[in-house]
Subunit: 344 residues, 2 copies
């Protein structure tokens, strides 16, 4: 498929570009008045995720309003545990809650996996098709999934946690069962991402949101191999791996064909040195920086672009916070769009 603006895909394909593409994690969300207008009419977040026409509408809003170089489908990483047999609710101000969690091998063996699970998510594929139609070739659409470790941690804990100590204890106490469950989540995620690609996404991002609470050894054993399997299974479509907090394993994370998302706690010059000049990096402005003023945002964004150099997709180091002033988000986007790589 041809896009009027293919800067994002050319960057992922390591072609020469005049400037970095820019988009923001959570750009389809509360920062936009258009989103809030739709959201107040609905019973909740889950209704929005499950209504393809509305999900498509909010996915396209930031392309119209902010002029970003890519859209990302409005959805939730927790549709995977739901499709595997663990439904969840989103409790206002508290976050996700799973009435049933995984405790034993019996619980694991009851789960649905792979294609059988992925095919229950037609509302996601429908939303993608509606979005692609609505975007009409303006910019590419990104699909996403949670990483197996992050999904497992919700399946065990049943809700958010400061320490995820139950999930981590499960890895130490039941390593064989943990690997079995990670396999099942991986198979499901691969089937899910392939279906998303068939529906029209041009690239995928895998979010390992809780990578940072694992020790380096646990990350290497229980997280990284499954990220690698996903990346290898999705051949032909660019993959961005974003393992938040995995500062100890950047080299290994960059060791495939994937691009690498980086969080705001990483020193940019060090990361570039660690992974080399050919790896595409995505990130990493501190989302809190967008609470400051326009001049500071322009300076810091330009610093970021210079420090990371070419092979870079400009983004924040985490999802944009819902109460960020819209004007500051625009300043960030426009600073990137006004930037040019020097040609000598």
């Amino acid at each position: 498929m041809q896009y009027q603006n293919d800067l994002f895909l050319r960057t992922l394909n390591k072609e020469a570009v005049e400037r970095p593409p820019v988009w923001l994690m959570r750009q389809a969300g509360r920062i936009l008045p258009q989103y809030r207008a739709i959201r107040t009419k609905l019973s909740g977040f889950v209704e929005l995720v499950q209504t393809p026409q509305l999900a498509a509408e909010v996915t396209i809003q930031p392309v119209d309003e902010l002029g970003v170089d890519a859209a990302i489908i409005f959805s939730d990483i927790l549709v995977i545990p739901e499709a595997m047999g663990l439904p969840y609710e989103l409790i206002e101000k508290k976050g996700p809650f799973f009435p049933n969690t995984i405790k034993t091998a019996t619980d694991v063996n009851k789960l649905i996996e792979g294609q059988n699970a992925a095919e229950q998510l037609d509302y996601v594929y429908d939303a993608i098709e509606a979005t692609v139609k609505g975007l009409d070739g303006r910019v590419p659409l990104i699909g996403f999934a949670g990483a197996p470790w992050t999904i497992l941690s919700y399946m065990i804990e049943g809700q958010g946690s400061k320490t995820f100590s139950k999930a981590k204890a499960f890895l130490y106490k039941e390593p064989v069962l943990a690997h079995q469950l990670l396999e099942m989540i991986t198979n499901t995620t691969i089937a899910y991402l392939k279906a998303k690609i068939r529906a029209g996404v041009a690239a995928v991002q895998v979010f390992d949101s809780w990578a940072g609470i694992l020790s380096p050894a646990q990350f290497q054993s229980f997280a990284l191999p499954y990220l690698r399997r996903i990346e290898q299974a999705i051949e032909g479509t660019p993959v961005i791996l974003f393992a938040r907090g995995a500062h100890h394993s950047l080299k290994e994370l960059a060791n495939g064909n994937n691009a690498l998302g980086i969080d705001w706690t990483l020193n940019r010059t060090n990361v570039r040195q660690t992974v080399g000049s050919e790896v595409v990096l995505q990130g990493n402005l501190d989302p809190c920086f967008l609470y400051s003023n326009e001049e500071s945002i322009r300076i810091e964004t330009t610093n970021m672009l210079n420090e990371l150099g070419p092979r870079h997709i400009a983004n924040l180091g985490h999802g944009v916070y819902p109460d960020t002033p819209l004007q500051n988000v625009k300043t960030f986007v426009n600073t990137v769009k006004d930037f040019r790589y020097s040609t000598n």
Copy 2:
């Protein structure tokens, strides 16, 4: 003062020792049945903190029960904001809550600081004196405080937070006021730690629990200089700096006379290489590892001791979780106590 067991202080003073000393962050707490027995008789955590005789009793329990090489006074980092004029409650299962928070310069200027604040904490100094008496020279007693950035973040947020985005936004929006407040907290913390030393603690640890949510630049500007000022002000008494998540600034953190606490997400071999063989490191077993079995704990603890080498205080990389099996905690402690450095 002379101690029957001075392994901890000899290690901090970089003297030759036969094995690393061992203690656990949060060793005085729910892992011990003796602690739980006292706790159920009281209205809450704050009552225990504020009753010197009881605080002393629970401080000594792990020395009796676990045979650790140091005691740490049972207290709370949030006594400092309280002494500065911001009282707090501990809400069961939710954590600390401050009815009043810092929003403006007026709020900052109303705070009490330095000696005037520190002298309101007599119950802490009384608890230290009672503990020193109760320990009767068996092992040294550690005093502690929260780092200025961590204390500021509670003063702004008023409670725990996943992102501490309000506190971080304050740094970006009001940097001058933030530095003024950090100065005031630093002055108070220095007065407080000096009073603890006069009361009998033999070493102090400063906990920068929320260091990990700052960008490297913010950490260098708003956290590190104040840690350094505290370390320099407490001359003559060993200081352990523990900035959790500050993986980007280990070299700078180790660049004083202090020992360095390290969290479990750090690769031990890399840390030792980064800071050199002469810096005393404290940590860093993943607290979740103590949910596994005794054989695994013995192996992993020994790995840690070998990887970090001499100039090491064995500990976890975070506070021990309250539901950790006591037998596993003992296995950890005893593995360290059975270890010997090779002498050739």
